[in-house]
């Protein structure tokens, strides 16, 4: 058995709210293999974003383990994490807030590449995600939401990561633009074999993109399995309710 790309073991993440402790992720174990696309669905507040950010060690877990490419990163400090960051990149819901408004797109793409010693021309990175080279000179507010999300995907891809974590990456986009970005993610996956942890509220989107689906509720992973299986024979009552909301 080879080590999976990502392995979570009994992961627990807590927040100290002024009144009580919130256990946002409550004992989640899962694996993502190389080239896998895992979808994470669940109602608002179920812990999806918290889980995603903990995988990238933007949060420190309370207990449990995170293994990225076999290496335990659960307790690594920022300095030790930095060289690993290029292997796991994140794409956020709101593309505008994930770019520095004072940097051109070209600069926003160049900085992380320089930091990680990647020498790839910015126009090539733009071309990978279907943007014209001229966009390098534009500022974030001069791009539409869909164009900016392409740039964000390009920025993540430029570091040749093994894993991209995408949190509601298409839900804020115009409906007529959403299909472009979903097709782009599929193409990128097919060409690069990059793994995806894809968080979404939309079950149709999850079914389109994901090989496996995990269903979260109240911090727990209720079930996880191949997409077709979860859709055809959900193991959990809650999943049935969730799938019952699909309108076809």
């Amino acid at each position: 058995m080879t080590e999976p790309l990502l392995r979570l073991e009994e992961l627990v993440v807590e927040f100290a709210d002024p009144h009580r402790r919130v256990r946002a992720v409550d004992g989640v174990s899962l694996e993502i293999g190389a080239g896998d696309i895992l979808g994470l669905v669940g109602e608002s507040g179920s812990g999806k974003t918290t889980l995603a950010k903990t995988v990238l060690r933007l949060y420190r877990p309370h207990s449990g383990r995170i293994l990225l490419q076999g290496r335990d990163i659960t307790h690594l400090g920022e300095a030790a994490l930095r060289p690993l960051r290029r292997h796991a990149q994140m794409v956020f819901q709101d593309p505008l807030s994930s770019f520095n408004p004072r940097h051109t797109i070209g600069r926003a793409l160049a900085i992380p590449m320089r930091l990680h010693g990647v020498a790839r021309p910015v126009p090539d990175v733009l071309a990978d995600v279907g943007l014209p080279a001229g966009f390098a000179d534009r500022y974030p507010h001069q791009l539409s939401g869909g164009q900016l999300q392409r740039a964000a995907i390009g920025r993540a891809l430029s570091l040749s990561p093994a894993l991209i974590v995408a949190d509601e990456a298409v839900s804020k986009l115009d409906v007529s633009v959403r299909a472009q970005i979903l097709n782009l993610l599929r193409r990128v996956h097919a060409e690069r074999g990059v793994s995806l942890l894809f968080i979404t509220h939309d079950l149709h989107v999850a079914r389109f993109l994901c090989h496996r689906i995990g269903v979260m509720r109240a911090g727990r992973l209720l079930e996880i399995g191949p997409t077709a299986q979860v859709f055809a024979s959900p193991a959990h009552e809650y999943t049935r309710t969730l799938l019952g909301t699909i309108v076809t």
Binding site: V41, E43, S44, S144, G145, G146, Q147, D174, V175, S176, V177, R178, A179, Q180, L182, N183, R186, H201, D202, L203, H204, V205, R207, F208, T241, L242, G244, T245, V247, T248
Partner: protein
């Protein structure tokens, strides 16, 4: 469109909203029969919210609205002064917002809001009992406890239910719901949609239901109107529009939604992005993205009537 005239719940002709020299809404017509639900579909920035706000005279400062006709149950709203219009707001026409928080006074409990609404509805009996019953009607458990809560103590879904309860209590002739489920997750969204369907049974109000989601619109609407760049580009009976869309833009939206629902390997895409209001393309606003564009499309397009109760703003139907 359907029966206008005296019997119409709402009649709007040629609504234009401007901000300085910028045209944000460019000639929108709406017709609603009593009890009918019109679904308005359009993506972000297409002018849906501004159209609603114009009907309620709630446009942001600096914007101006003009319409050739605006009648609510035969009453010319254009002729009403502010005091007379205020009386109509709530009982004649009421709005449910995407973000319900703004509809509540954060310093007052839910009970205070319900009481104010009940006073307007000229109800009798103990207000607490009636308020609790109204909350219970929209599926709120333990309504007596909820009456003592402040708005920030309720989840988004609960607050949206409370707002719907307030509007339902007033039973207005026309209810405008502007993306009432967009901020909610899948499960809560379905519950709120089910609630709208039960309201349609219970009240005789006409409903304008605004959404950017085809699937949501299909669930609640009798008729659909599709907006693009400040104009309606297609209207018709909901079934007909969903199964036989006429406008290339509507066809694109439905092709994408169908491909997603059927689990296709590749999604039909509409190329490009929606136009900027600051610099809308001359002529048909969809032309830069349209695979059927041809000579003539660079001229402004009027609505054509190619079939029973259907309209489309496209020269393919000449």
């Amino acid at each position: 469109m359907t029966a206008a005239g005296m019997s119409a719940a709402l009649e709007l002709r040629n609504l234009r909203v401007t901000l300085g020299t910028v045209q944000l809404v460019r000639g929108v017509d709406l017709d609603l029969a009593p009890g009918e639900t019109l679904g308005v579909i359009g993506e972000s920035g297409s002018g849906k919210t501004l159209t609603c706000l114009s009907l309620l005279r709630l446009l942001p400062r600096g914007m101006a609205a003009q319409a050739d006709v605006l009648r609510l149950k035969g009453t010319d709203l254009g002729g009403l002064d502010e005091a007379a219009f205020r009386k109509l707001r709530g009982r004649g026409i009421a709005m449910i917002f995407q973000d319900p928080v703004g509809a509540f006074n954060p310093a007052k409990r839910i009970g205070w809001h319900m009481r104010a609404v009940l006073a307007r509805a000229a109800s009798d009996g103990a207000w607490q009992r009636r308020a609790a019953a109204a909350l219970s009607d929209v599926g709120i458990a333990e309504p007596e406890r909820v009456l003592r809560r402040y708005p920030h103590q309720l989840s988004g879904g609960m607050l949206q239910r409370a707002l719907i309860a307030m509007v339902a209590t007033l039973a207005p002739d026309v209810i405008i719901a502007d993306e009432p489920t967009t901020n909610l997750d899948n499960i809560i969204e379905q519950q709120i949609l089910a609630l709208f369907r039960s309201l349609q049974q219970r009240l005789s109000s006409a409903l304008v239901f605004i959404t950017h989601d085809m699937r949501v619109a299909a669930l609640v609407s009798d008729r659909l109107a599709v907006m693009y760049a400040g104009q309606i580009v297609e209207t018709g009976p909901a079934e007909a529009v969903l199964h036989r869309p006429l406008h290339p833009y509507t066809q694109g939206l439905i092709a994408t939604a169908d491909a997603l629902a059927s689990g296709a390997a590749q999604l039909a895409e509409i190329p490009g992005q929606p136009p900027s209001v600051l610099d809308p393309p001359a002529g048909c606003a969809f032309r830069p993205r349209c695979a059927s564009a041809r000579a003539g499309c660079e001229a402004p397009q009027a609505l054509r009537s190619p079939g029973e109760a259907r309209q489309v703003r496209c020269l393919l139907y000449d």
